[in-house]
């Protein structure tokens, strides 16, 4: 096939990009080369629209061992231990084929982590679906949950936390973001930078099939009515083989025979080989006849672009081939020497004794397009005036029950009880809390992780929304007693070619950067997913933030369930009564406009750090951050989890009761303390200039505000627990 402009455009390249390729090569590429360019230069692999802005994120810190640019980020947790972690999207495949899409998303992110030498110890996920009324939502939810469970459960890695939301902006484009944490010894981290000449390049894992060809290109395009036709571009997962691959790789990594290792994820053999060569400033020569293939008569083009799962590329020390092969034989996995490193600084492919591709690596990587897309700055929406008569007739308990049964607040136990969250025997805080927590095996340390997003805030004002998500992640870690270390981000947006969507991206990233820089909570890994839209309509901007923190002594871990009757409950942080963009405004008042709550980074940091001090002093019995649904929702969840009630006090200062209890002001936590510690706690709060209100005292089984406003915890529990179960069984 002779390549021309039309074929290039069919590959998702722009006309100018194709011209640039011809200029750089000083000739027309052949079809295999064109395939390679299209894979490397698409949005998913090249970050061409986002690179310029991602550069501005803070990525360094005292505990950061590896920031963005590797398979995953790495942070130091002391005693020669390090945590490797990353979040990644698998949105488009999951919409087309929810089970396989979600499963291979989980498989892919785990591979990114164990490629670096770390054993995965926890999975998390952030999944977003269309309206619960939409005809596809139920099946998509079921398929995605089955897929995540199917892969993670089989791998024997606990799924310890997650987030699920429903919003009509995802009707035609759901989001599936998967995150994995792995544990590694600091001096045994593996990287993808090739080094040395004439070193064998080894292919291990599954055979290469025709599945997923052009997966990365599909992930870089918008959806249209014909999306179902793209099913063949979805990869098929085999968690059993990945489990074998994990054990085999870790066994090989015990020795010192690996120079570089890279998993074959998006754009398969193409991006893995080019990445290793590029980082090592070397060339790689591959004989494609040596690549283990599942199907007969696969062409070089297909072999290079296949996204078959569970495969790795390794650059090995000379003379270690036999030893390495024995390990992969033991685990019944393919092992093939397919090429070698060269000094040519080119990627050279041979097939049937003919050279089928010959491209300088730097053309593919450094010369890949980078765009400074046009973007539109968002204005801060005007505050809504809430008419007092709108809310004065409302009954607090009725509102509360409605909110607790809202799809975005209700218990997600139906989802996480399908994930194995206890395998590996170290899960000390399971899903349903502020963060999931796993022990660092055999030590007193534990690692907390949380994944958060607030698409509604980001949609209302991207800059504020971006800051808020980082702060919420910070709070979720602190609420369990963990010191926040670093974050990974998965940036899900609409089309970068649309000025408004691009503006949302730019400003969310700016907000994320400001908050993470102020909170010393750097970004160490992540991924960008653009073109999340159906036809011209983009999703609400949805950056997902995965936060990781350390608990030095896990006996000090905090959970959110109320512990003891007569204990005192405080709310830390000031409640101003910000109702715009709150769940209350949307669900009860049906009001969708207005600005999101403001972020005060000083208060966030100060309140959080002070709470950590209190936790460290053993003064806190339970804690929970206040987010969606405000104080009333947060306190109800603490009651439900602990099977206790609370006698609530009326707000002291001049504020409407409903606004007080349902406002979504930021930087707040609810804490439980015992009476004997009250003075000590208040002294510390005063000394650190942290605002607090006394919220009430814990009772046996009733949420009590007044004789007219009270409800049993059992009733609240059934509102909260049953909604999703009922929805899924209908």
């Amino acid at each position: 096939m002779i390549v021309n402009e039309k074929i290039a455009i069919d590959h998702g390249l722009k006309k100018e990009e194709y011209q640039k390729i011809c200029e750089l090569l000083k000739r027309t590429p052949n079809i295999t080369e064109l395939g390679i360019f299209s894979a490397m230069w698409n949005e998913h692999c090249s970050y061409k629209s986002s690179r310029l802005h991602l550069k501005k994120l803070p990525t360094k810190g005292k505990q950061v061992i590896q920031g963005p640019g590797e398979n995953a980020g790495v942070v130091d947790i002391g005693d020669n231990d390090a945590i490797v972690f990353k979040i990644e999207s698998h949105n488009h495949p999951s919409f087309i084929e929810p089970y396989q899409g979600a499963a291979t998303g989980v498989g892919g992110i785990m591979r990114d982590v164990f490629t670096m030498g770390a054993r995965p110890i926890a999975n998390l996920n952030s999944i977003h679906f269309g309206s619960t009324q939409h005809k596809k939502t139920k099946n998509l939810l079921r398929g995605v949950v089955n897929g995540i469970g199917g892969y993670g459960n089989c791998m024997g890695v606990p799924t310890i936390a997650g987030q699920t939301s429903f919003d009509s902006s995802y009707n035609g484009n759901i989001l599936v973001n998967a995150m994995t944490l792995g544990l590694v010894k600091k001096d045994k981290i593996f990287y993808s930078k090739a080094a040395g000449l004439n070193k064998p390049v080894i292919y291990v894992g599954s055979k290469t099939g025709r599945d997923g060809i052009h997966g990365a290109s599909m992930a870089s395009a918008s959806f249209d009515d014909k999306i179902e036709e793209k099913k063949p571009t979805v990869q098929v997962g085999d968690p059993f083989t990945e489990k074998l691959l994990l054990e085999a790789c870790l066994e090989l990594m015990e020795g010192d025979s690996i120079i570089a290792i890279q998993d074959m994820g998006a754009a398969g053999l193409t991006s893995s080989s080019i990445e290793m060569a590029s980082k090592g400033n070397l060339g790689i020569e591959i004989n494609l006849n040596k690549v283990p293939c599942r199907e007969s008569k696969m062409t070089p083009y297909e072999i290079m672009l296949s996204e078959s799962q569970e495969r790795m590329l390794i650059v090995l020390e000379n003379g270690k081939e036999e030893m390495a092969k024995k390990i992969f034989d033991k685990w019944n996995l393919d092992f093939a020497i397919i090429g070698k490193t060269t000094k040519s600084k080119k990627i050279e492919l041979y097939f049937d004794n003919k050279r089928v591709a010959d491209v300088p690596v730097n053309i593919l990587v450094e010369n890949s397009p980078m765009y400074d897309r046009k973007w539109k700055k968002a204005k801060l929406p005007k505050k809504n005036k809430i008419e007092k008569e709108d809310i004065n007739n409302l009954k607090i308990i009725d509102i509360l029950k409605k909110i607790l049964a809202n799809p975005n607040i209700c218990s997600k136990e139906w989802i996480w009880s399908q994930y194995d969250h206890t395998v590996m025997g170290d899960t000390i805080q399971k899903p349903g809390g502020d963060s999931g927590v796993v022990r660092v095996h055999g030590t007193n340390k534990a690692v907390a992780a949380s994944v958060d997003s607030s698409a509604v805030y980001c949609w209302a004002h991207p800059l504020t929304g971006g800051k808020q998500v980082v702060c919420e992640s910070f709070r979720n870690l602190i609420s369990v007693g963990a010191k926040p270390i670093a974050i990974t981000n998965c940036l899900n947006f609409g089309s970068p070619e649309n000025e408004e969507n691009m503006g949302e991206f730019v400003e969310c990233v700016q907000g994320i950067g400001e908050a993470s820089s102020y909170l010393k909570f750097p970004v160490v890994s992540g991924n960008v997913s653009f073109y999340n839209q159906t036809k011209d309509q983009g999703i609400k901007p949805t950056p997902s933030i995965g936060g990781v923190g350390l608990i030095k002594d896990y006996s000090k871990m905090i959970t959110m369930d109320f512990k003891e009757v007569n204990n005192i409950v405080l709310v830390i942080g000031k409640t101003e009564g910000h109702i715009d963009q709150s769940l209350f405004a949307r669900v009860i008042l049906d009001e969708k406009n207005g600005p999101p709550p403001e972020i005060n980074l000083f208060n966030e940091k100060n309140n959080g750090e002070t709470l950590l001090k209190l936790i460290d002093g053993n003064l806190i019995k339970s804690a929970h951050d206040v987010s969606l649904g405000g104080i009333m929702t947060a306190v109800s969840k603490m009651c439900i989890k602990g099977n206790k009630g609370i006698n609530l006090k009326k707000p002291k200062y001049l504020i409407n009761e409903i606004e007080y209890f349902f406002a979504e002001d930021q930087g707040r936590y609810i804490i439980e303390i015992s009476k004997k510690d009250q003075k000590k706690v208040l002294d510390i709060l005063d000394k650190n200039a942290v605002h607090y209100d006394e919220l009430g005292t814990i009772n046996e089984n009733m949420l009590f505000l007044s004789q007219k406003s009270k409800v049993t915890i059992d009733e609240l529990k059934s509102s909260n627990k049953n909604w999703l179960i009922k929805y899924m069984s209908k």
Binding site: C154, G156, D238, F240, K243, W331, S417, Q418, V423, D426
Partner: protein, 227 residues
């Protein structure tokens, strides 16, 4: 006391079992599925996981792997063999314990704490245990125990039911049955009671900071019985 845990390709609770056995005093060895001989052991454990991916019937491939002939011989000569979760599925496939394990009634993987009532203490696994009810943890997709009427009669006549799903008070009722098992069966013995297969994972409940600590009761009692 010596124990051995078999690792099949796809086993994923083998390490957890190793940790638990060692914690309660066993001298444990890991055994690879392609080995032919078992090390000298007082207890052999088939751990949980997804042996061979469970792509065929759960446990069926593993039941044919090399080491299993030795395990079967060991069991037939009176040796203690315990299968947990996928290990139970493997035991069923070897025929060492009767019945089959079907897909859960509600067709969903279930991961949660359950209560089980010990139905027979006249064996080395539960002899001398003070508790009648244990809180354990299940995590499976195919734990729905089924057998024919004749088999059930035989199982009951021989007192082969080891544990049943129940509530905290020990009531064995359908609403406390997580997966649809006949008679709420969570674990059964062979006729001689030296082979035990059960769905719950005691090895995940060996520390108060985990989902619970009742697994410790089970293991402490087990090693004392074997001494």
């Amino acid at each position: 006391m010596k124990s051995a845990v078999i690792t099949f390709p796809g086993s994923n609770c083998d390490r957890d079992m190793d940790v638990a056995l060692k914690k309660f005093g066993f001298n444990n060895k890991m055994v690879w599925h392609q080995d032919i001989e078992l090390p000298k052991s007082d207890l052999v454990v088939l751990p949980g996981g997804f042996s061979y991916g469970d792509y065929l019937r759960c446990g069926s491939m593993a039941s044919k792997s090399k080491i299993m002939q030795s395990v079967i011989n060991f069991a037939n000569s009176g040796g203690m063999v315990m299968g947990i979760c996928n290990g139970f599925q493997i035991l069923v496939e070897t025929g060492l314990v009767p019945g089959v394990l079907l897909r859960n009634k509600y067709l969903e993987f279930i991961c949660k704490n359950v209560f089980v009532k010990i139905s027979n203490k006249d064996n080395f696994y539960f002899k001398n245990i003070n508790n009648n009810i244990l809180e354990l943890h299940i995590a499976h997709n195919e734990g729905n125990y089924f057998c024919t009427k004749d088999q059930l009669k035989e199982i009951e006549d021989n007192a082969q039911i080891a544990i049943n799903y129940c509530d905290a008070e020990g009531k064995i009722e359908e609403i406390f049955n997580p997966n649809g098992s006949i008679k709420n069966i969570a674990g059964i013995f062979n006729k001689e009671k030296n082979v035990l297969g059960m769905m719950p994972h005691p090895e995940r409940m060996i520390d108060p900071s985990l989902s619970g600590d009742d697994g410790s009761i089970f293991f402490k009692n087990l090693i004392n019985n074997l001494k």
